[in-house]
Amino acid sequence: MLYATELMGAKTYDAQGNYVGKIREFFIEPADQPNRISHYLLSRGSFQPLLARHDQVASVAPGTVRLNVNERLLEPYEPNEAWLAVQKDLLDQQIIDTSGRKVVRVNDVDLAEQRTNGSIELRVTQVDVGLPGAVRRLFQGIAPQKFIRKMQEQFPPRSIRWEFVNLVESDPLRRVKLRITHEKLEDLHPADLADIMEDLSAAERQGIIASLDEETAAGVLAELDARLTSQIVEKMDPEKAADILEEMAPDAAADLLADLPKETSEELLEEMPGHEAAEVRELLEFDPSTAGGMMNTEFVFIGESASRDEVLHWMKEQDLNLDQLDTIVLLDRAAQFSGTVPVARLLLADPEQTLAGLKIEPLLSLPPDASEKEVFEIFDKYNLRMLTIVDDDKRPIGVITVDDVVSKLMK
C-alpha cells in the first residue's frame, strides 16, 4: 500500500531515464472512474508544469516515479474544475463518513497499485483519519522513510473506505462536475444527518440540503437546531423551501416559520399549496409556549360508533404515517371530542366491538391556550403518550404527542 503523502514530491523520470519533474498533485476524474488517479501533476521549477496520464506511468514507489513515455508526449497542465485534487480538495478537509455517521478530517489518502498492460494505475482505497496519517504528514520530507514507517506503526490505524467517503463541496457547479451526490446520506436517519450537518460550515450545509430530496431535507430540518434551520431556509430558493415545508409536519413547519423574518415566512406561505398553508397559518397564531403552539394538526379521528373491523378497513385505505400512530381520537355524533383509543387496544378487540367501548378513562383534553406547564403536568400525571387539544366547541383541533413534550423539555 502507498500513501499520497509519501508520493508527494517524488522525482519522476521518463522512459529514457531523464528527469522530468516532481509530483505535486494527484487528480481523480470522477466522471471517468470514481477512485482512479487519472492525472499526475509534475512541477519543474520555473517551467510550465506537465501532466502525466494514468496510462503513462510505468512504476510508482515512494520517492521515484517512472513513466513509460518520453517527456515530449506529456501535455502541459491546464486547471480542470472537474478533477478532484487529492492535496487541495482532500487532505486536511472535512468529509462525511457515511458508515460511522460523522464528520472527520482527512490526514492522508491510501492508494493501491493496480497493474494494467504496461502501466500502473493508482486507486484510492481509503482515507486515513487517524494518528498514523498525522505522523506521516508531520515527518514526511524531514525524517527518513524507515523512521516514519516505524513511528506510524505505534498508533492504531483509523481509516474510512473510499465507498463510505462523502465529499463536501459547497459550490453547486463544482459538485455536479465532480459527480458528488448525497444519495448515501439519504439512507441515514435524519437525526444522524442533522448531527453531521451541525459539524459543517454554513455553505456546506446549504449545499447538502439543496441536493437532498424534499422528504429527507424536511426530516433533517425538523431535527436541526432552530437557529441553523432558519439560517438555511432563509438562504434557500423560496420555491424549494416551500416544497420542503410541505413535506414537514405542520407543527414543525410552523415552528420553523415562526423563527424567520415576517417577509420571508409570508413569501414561503404564499408558495405553499392553499390548505397546507392555511393549516400552518392557524398554528402560527398560537403562542409557542402554549398547548396550541405545541400541537400538531395532523391526527387520526374516527366516529365512536365505528366497529373495529370498519376502522381497520378504513385505515388500510388511508396513507397514514404508521410509525408515529399509536392513538386514535374519537368523535361523537355532534363531532365533539369523546375520547381516545390506543392502537394496541384495537389489536385484541372483537371485530364487532365499537370504538366507544375501547376508549381509555379518564377523558382528558386541554384548550389551546393552556400553558406548557399544564401540558407537562398532565402528561406526567397520567403517563400519556398523546393529548387531544379541543376548541371552545369541544371539537378536537390538534394533538400533542409525547415527543413534542420531550423536545420542549430538552430546550
Partner: protein
C-alpha cells in the same frame, strides 16, 4: 397631600412613565432578545483577559506610574475590539473555528507546530492563573496547599459535570464579580476627575492651560515603555482569538445574527477596559500616592491596600483576583484542549461523554493538574512563570494575528465580508504595533530572567 386623589394622580403618573419606557423599548424588543441570545462569547473572552497576570500588571502599572498610564486604555480598547471582531466575523461567515481554517488553508504541519506552541503557552498561562489563586489565598491567610488543590478540583468539576449552556451561564455570571474592583476603587477614594482627565494622552493635555496643573506627564523612559507593552501583552492574548471564533461557531451565529455578536464583542472590549481603568485608578490613588512603587505580586498589591484604603478594599481586591484566576483557569484549559482537538481531528466538546472524547478531556485534566501541581511545589518561581508565559505569548501573538488577517481577507472564504479597506488598514497597524510591543515585553522579560532588570 396624602389624600387619595393625590396618590392616585401620582400613581397614574408613574404608570404613564413606565408605559412610555415600555413603548419606547418595544420596537427594539426583538433586537434585544436577539442580542441576549448571542451574548456571551465576546463578554466572556474579554473579561478572562483580566486574569491573574493581567491584574498583576495593572496593579504594577498603577503603583509605578500612577494615572499616567491611563491614556493607553482607549487605544488598547480599539486594538482589542479590532482583533477580536475579525475572529467573530470569520466564525459567523465561515461557520468554522480559527484552528480549522488554519488547518484547511495552511496544511497539517503548520497547524501542528502552531498547536504545540499554543499548548505550551497556555500551560504557562494556566500556571500563572493558579499562581493568582495562590496570591489571593495568601491575602486571606489560607494555606496554598488547601486553596490551590481546591481551586483545581472546582474548575475541573464545573466543566466535567456541566453542559455547554450551563457552563457558559456560570461564566457569564462570574463576569459580574469583576465589579468588586469598581467598589474597591471607590473605597480607595481617588480623584475621579483627574483620573478621567488622564484617559486622554497627557502629553497633549499638557498644552491645554486650564487643565495643565492637574496633568501629570509620564516619564518617557525604558521602564514606562515596558509597562505599556506589558499592558498590551496581557490584554490581547493569542488564545482569545481561537476561543472567540470557536464560541461564535458553537452559538450558531449566522450572518443575520452577526450584528448582535459584534455588539457583544464591542461591549466586552469596553467592559474589559473599564475594569482595567478601575484597577489602575485604585492602585494609583493608594500605592502610587503613598510611594509604594514596587509591587512584586498581585497579592502584595491587595495587602498593601489594607492600611491605605481599608480592609474592605483589600478584601474586594483579593476576591476579584481569586475570581479572575479561577475564571481564567477554567476557560484556558478548556479552550486549549478544544482548539487542539479540533485542529488535529480528535473528538471534542463539553457536550460529549468522557469515553467519546478521551483526548479532549485528558488534555483538559492534564493542563489543570500540571498547572496546579507546579504552583504548589514551586510557588517561589511564580514570577518567573509569569514572565516566561509573557515571552511565549509575545512570540505567538503576532503569528496568530497575521494568520487571522490573511484568512479574513480571503474572498473565497469570506465573500463580501472581508475587511473593509479602512478597517483593514487599522487592523494591520494594530497588528504591527502589537507585534512590536509584545516583542519589547519578550525582550525585557528575557533580560529580567537572565538577571538584568531592564528598568
Amino acid at each position: 397631600m396624602w389624600n387619595r386623589e393625590n396618590i392616585e394622580a401620582q400613581w397614574a403618573g408613574w404608570t404613564e412613565r413606565a408605559e412610555r419606557v415600555i413603548s419606547a423599548v418595544r420596537p427594539y424588543r426583538r433586537r434585544i432578545a436577539l442580542f441576549l441570545a448571542v451574548v456571551g462569547p465576546g463578554l466572556i473572552v474579554s473579561n478572562v483577559d483580566n486574569d491573574a497576570g493581567g491584574i498583576y500588571t495593572y496593579a504594577q502599572a498603577g503603583a509605578k506610574y500612577g494615572n499616567t498610564v491611563l491614556w493607553s486604555l482607549i487605544p488598547m480598547t480599539i486594538v482589542l475590539y479590532v482583533s477580536l471582531e475579525m475572529c467573530s466575523r470569520m466564525g459567523a461567515v465561515t461557520g468554522k473555528g480559527l484552528s480549522d481554517l488554519i488547518r484547511e488553508e495552511f496544511g497539517f504541519r503548520v497547524t501542528f507546530f502552531l498547536m504545540a506552541v499554543v499548548l505550551i503557552v497556555n500551560l504557562g498561562n494556566v500556571m500563572a492563573e493558579f499562581t493568582g489563586v495562590f496570591w489571593a489565598s495568601e491575602t486571606f491567610g489560607v494555606s496554598r496547599f488547601i486553596a490551590v488543590p481546591l481551586a483545581a478540583v472546582l474548575v475541573w468539576a464545573i466543566v466535567m459535570a456541566g453542559t455547554a449552556k450551563w457552563v457558559e451561564r456560570i461564566f457569564l455570571s462570574i463576569c459580574v464579580v469583576y465589579l468588586s474592583y469598581v467598589v474597591s476603587a471607590f473605597l480607595a477614594k481617588p480623584e475621579w476627575l483627574v483620573a478621567l482627565l488622564h484617559l486622554l494622552p497627557p502629553q497633549l493635555m499638557h498644552y491645554i492651560p486650564t487643565v495643565r496643573p492637574f496633568v501629570q506627564v509620564p516619564p518617557f523612559n525604558a521602564g514606562y515603555v515596558i509597562i505599556l507593552a506589558a499592558l498590551v501583552g496581557t490584554t490581547i492574548a493569542p488564545w482569545q482569538h481561537f476561543y472567540l471564533q470557536a464560541a461564535v461557531v458553537e452559538k450558531r451565529v449566522g450572518p443575520r445574527q452577526y450584528s448582535a455578536t459584534r455588539n457583544d464583542v464591542l461591549i466586552g472590549s469596553i467592559s474589559c477596559m473599564v475594569i482595567v481603568f478601575f484597577i489602575i485608578v485604585c492602585t494609583a490613588s493608594t500605592l502610587y500616592v503613598h510611594g509604594i512603587r514596587d509591587v512584586d505580586s498581585a497579592g502584595t498589591a491587595a495587602l498593601a491596600l489594607r492600611p491605605l484604603a481599608g480592609k474592605w478594599a483589600s478584601a474586594l481586591f483579593a476576591i476579584g483576583l481569586l475570581n479572575a484566576s479561577l475564571f481564567a483557569a477554567s476557560i484556558l484549559p478548556l479552550s486549549t484542549s478544544y482548539v487542539i482537538c479540533e485542529a488535529l481531528g480528535f473528538e471534542s466538546g463539553v457536550d460529549r461523554k468522557f469515553g467519546e472524547a478521551k483526548i479532549f478531556y485528558g488534555l483538559y485534566t492534564a493542563l489543570i493538574a500540571l498547572g496546579a501541581i507546579f504552583v504548589l511545589f514551586t510557588g517561589r518561581y511564580a514570577n518567573a512563570i509569569l514572565l516566561w508565559s509573557q515571552v511565549l505569548n509575545g512570540f505567538l501573538l503576532p503569528v496568530v494575528m497575521i494568520f487571522v488577517l490573511i484568512l479574513v481577507n480571503r474572498r473565497d472564504l469570506m465573500g463580501d465580508r472581508t475587511n473593509p479597506k479602512g478597517f483593514n488598514w487599522v487592523a494591520w497597524i494594530c497588528t504591527i504595533a502589537v507585534t512590536i510591543l509584545t516583542l519589547v515585553v519578550a525582550y525585557s522579560s528575557i533580560r529580567e530572567l537572565m538577571g538584568h532588570p531592564a528598568s
